[in-house]
């Protein structure tokens, strides 16, 4: 592929130096965690709704091809035009061809992670189409020419002062202010004009209902409703896993999503769209297009274990609870999806050769697994991908790309020693005698002793002590 591997370690190192950034994340994540805990204080309710949510997602995955066909049929019946894209290139081309047909110049976007995955903005801008993010956080990040650092709160890495400076610098009519209400109002004024004049609205999809051909979107700001109601054309992009079977599957998933994401019992708006403007209706888009994107998902789906990645409802709670993400922030991952879900999803979508380091950006503490509302075994998948990265195979793109003879030798030697009682006792006895003499300049010890003292080998192993004290062996 020739794609260079993304360097998480280097990027995170820069982030760790930035005390301001670390403070921003720590504060925000602490708040989100404690507020979420309040939402799920009733353990029985949490267990019940979580089991239900997981079952909804698993049932959808168990019938995925059939449900996608059903979704297509019902959308088509409702007047929504359905398109299929195997790759992000194909998805971008589909979007572009629609825009060219209606001669679009200005596009407003509701928040969509899949469009981030497609790098849609950059793609359209290159072709002379102005593409404006309308979610306030996304708008800020776009003004800053940066990437979102969180899938739910894109501008969480910035504080008010930084945003105030950005607005002053980038928005013509802006007066400098650090008043959040005034900053918000400024964005409102700028974006209203755009909503009223945009040719096309682009949105994501939180869930698509096969049974009724309905697209569900949740949001707080109203920009999602604007983008999907005001412009004459609405294009929704979704990953193919976002389908659910029945309309009644929607409430539990939404409940888990909004409570996990931002600790709200529900978002301000739940927007369910089932058709373009009908005869006699006075507003709403005349055309709705649904672009269903694969981009590696069908490959993930083929593997029994990795498939669980596709349960994800993109709530972002795993980020908020991840001690690594909380330290380094979202940008260190250099990916549209950061944090635990990103660390398992990105390598599967973009290949291990490029993203093989991400599954190691994890201490396997299981904090994410504990709170994932649809019970994704994130850490097990992390471990599986670590294994895939060093063993050639065909389950994941780039499997074996991180294989190292030296590392493999170490583990082979380790397993031979540890699987043989004699070899093990010999080696450990030796370490007990000589281990402490190891110089701290040795490769791994060096990293360890940066902020810690050297681990001290005891002069007698537990095996030896147990023998001495006459603890029975059988």
């Amino acid at each position: 592929m020739g794609e260079s591997s993304i360097n998480f370690a280097k990027a995170s190192s820069a982030a760790l130096q930035d005390q301001q950034l670390r403070g921003n994340f720590r504060r925000a994540m602490d708040g989100l965690m404690s507020k979420r805990a309040v939402q799920f204080a009733d353990t029985a309710e949490w267990n019940g709704v979580r089991a239900l949510g997981a079952s909804v997602r698993l049932r959808a995955l168990s019938k995925l091809p059939e449900l996608l066909e059903k979704l297509e049929a019902n959308c088509t019946r409702n007047g929504i035009q359905v398109h299929w894209a195997a790759t992000t290139d194909e998805a971008n081309a589909i979007v572009l061809s629609i825009m060219q047909r209606v001669n679009a110049k200005l596009v407003v976007k509701g928040k969509s992670m899949v469009s981030e995955e497609m790098h849609l903005n950059a793609f359209l801008e290159k072709r002379g189409i102005e593409c404006l993010e309308s979610d306030l956080g996304e708008y800020i990040v776009q003004l800053d020419e940066a990437m979102p650092s969180h899938i739910i709160m894109p501008a969480i890495h910035m504080n008010t002062k930084q945003i105030a400076h950005l607005f002053k610098q980038k928005i013509k009519e802006a007066e400098y202010t650090e008043d959040v209400a005034q900053l918000t109002d400024l964005a409102r004024r700028v974006l209203r004009k755009k909503f009223a004049t945009a040719d096309v609205g682009v949105s994501g999809v939180n869930m698509a209902v096969a049974e009724t051909g309905t697209l569900c979107l949740v949001e707080n700001e109203g920009n999602g409703r604007m983008s999907t109601t005001v412009p004459p054309v609405h294009i929704a992009v979704m990953g193919l896993e976002k389908v659910v079977e029945k309309l009644e599957d929607v409430p539990p998933v939404i409940s888990l999503l909004t409570r996990s994401a931002t600790a709200q019992p529900i978002t301000t708006y739940v927007n369910m769209i089932s058709s373009p403007r009908k005869e006699g209706e006075k507003d709403g888009p005349d055309e709705i297009h649904l672009v269903i994107l694969d981009n590696g998902r069908s490959g993930i789906y083929a593997d029994e274990e990795l498939r669980n990645t596709l349960r994800c409802i993109r709530c972002g709670a795993c980020m908020n609870h991840c001690p690594v993400y909380t330290k380094v922030g979202g940008h260190a991952y250099q990916a549209p999806y950061p944090g635990p879900i990103g660390s398992i999803l990105m390598p599967q979508v973009e290949g291990l050769e490029k993203r093989g380091e991400l599954p190691h950006a994890c201490t396997m503490c299981n904090a994410c697994v504990e709170i994932c509302p649809v019970k994704i075994p994130i850490v097990e998948i992390m471990g599986r991908l670590r294994s895939e990265a060093v063993h050639p195979g065909d389950a994941v793109r780039g499997a074996g790309s991180h294989a190292s003879k030296a590392e493999a030798m170490v583990w082979k030697g380790w397993s031979m020693t540890y699987a043989s009682p004699l070899a093990y006792q010999f080696a450990t006895a030796l370490l007990a005698k000589l281990g402490n003499a190891a110089p701290t300049s040795l490769p791994l010890l060096k990293e360890w002793t940066n902020v810690r003292t050297k681990p001290r080998f005891a002069n007698r192993t537990l095996h030896a002590l147990a023998r001495e004290k006459g603890i029975p062996d059988v």
Binding site: A9, S12, L16, R22, N47, P323, V324, K327, H360, C362, T363, M364, C365, N366, A367, V369, E370, C372, E380, G383, L385, R386, S387, E388, A389, V390, A408, W411, K412, W414, S415, M416, Y418, A419, P421, Q425, T428, A432, G435, L444, E447, W448, T449, N450, V451, R452, T453, P455, R456, F457, A458, L462, H463, L465, A466, R467, I471, P472, D473, V474
Partner: protein
């Protein structure tokens, strides 16, 4: 099996004998904690068996992506625990590996059933002391203020959350001050600490600050990986707080 933090264990009857699985870190670095664990069990009138053939649960290789190698080492353990007795482990992380991950690791292998059988008998030490032996301790030490660091795998894989603190609270002269972020990972994560030394340093830095804020003289934990990390950082920062394994701490307080 999915680890969703909802583990709870059915009670078992108090056995006449137990196996002790020391773990490789305890073996090399904290043998006193291992001995203390065995003595706590013995003091309850239970016969403790320490099979000399044991070595490691296989976790280091498993978490590094070397499952074959992990399997080989895990398999080598199976022979040494033939009796139908509980296997007590003084480490939440290793106990979690054995009871939660061995079934996956051995999946489809000829000895899967045997591995599952062994795995089902694994108990984390404090869980065993509280739930099965229902111990009560008489504190014999001087007044001291301590704090508790919860190991990630003990709490989230073994479902051990209140047990260790319940034991510590039995000690009349011990004041337990909880950490502000008790459940947050200390940054050890096995090879993580050396693969991502800077992030790990930031994590243990936060942990040390949290510990210092309690004013405790000791931080007690049930996992030697965490302890090695936290006490190493406390020492390097010359903080007047010592890290100690819960087995050793309990033994010190109760056996004089």
């Amino acid at each position: 099996m999915s680890h969703d933090g909802t583990t709870s264990r059915p009670d078992i009857e108090r056995p006449e004998s137990v196996y002790f699985f020391g773990t490789c870190l305890v073996d090399l670095f904290y043998p006193d904690a291992g001995m203390a664990g065995m003595e706590l069990l013995k003091a309850q009138g239970v016969r403790v068996v320490f099979p000399q053939g044991q070595s490691c649960c296989g976790q280091p290789a498993y978490n590094s992506g070397y499952r074959e190698e992990a399997l080989k080492v895990a398999r080598a353990q199976l022979d040494y625990f033939p009796g139908d007795w509980p296997i007590v482990v003084p480490s939440g992380s290793c106990a979690g590996m054995m009871s939660k991950h061995w079934p996956d690791l051995f999946k489809g292998e000829p000895d899967e059933a045997r591995a599952r059988q062994v795995a089902s008998r694994v108990w984390e030490l404090t869980q065993f002391l509280v739930q099965v032996l229902k111990v009560t301790f008489e504190d014999q030490g001087p007044p001291v203020k301590i704090t508790w660091h919860a190991s990630c795998h003990a709490q989230r894989e073994m479902g051990v959350t209140d047990e260790p603190k319940a034991l510590l609270r039995q000690l009349a002269n011990v004041e337990l001050v909880e950490l502000q972020r008790e459940k947050e990972c200390c940054g050890f994560g096995g090879t993580f600490a050396v693969r991502h030394p800077e992030i790990s340093a930031a994590m243990v830095g936060d942990k040390v600050a949290d510990i210092e804020n309690t004013g405790a003289k000791a931080v007690v934990s049930g996992d030697c990986g965490c302890l090695m990390n936290i006490s190493g950082a406390l020492e390097a920062g010359q903080k007047p707080v010592r890290g100690v394994h819960i087995a050793q701490f309990l033994k010190e307080r109760t056996h004089g």
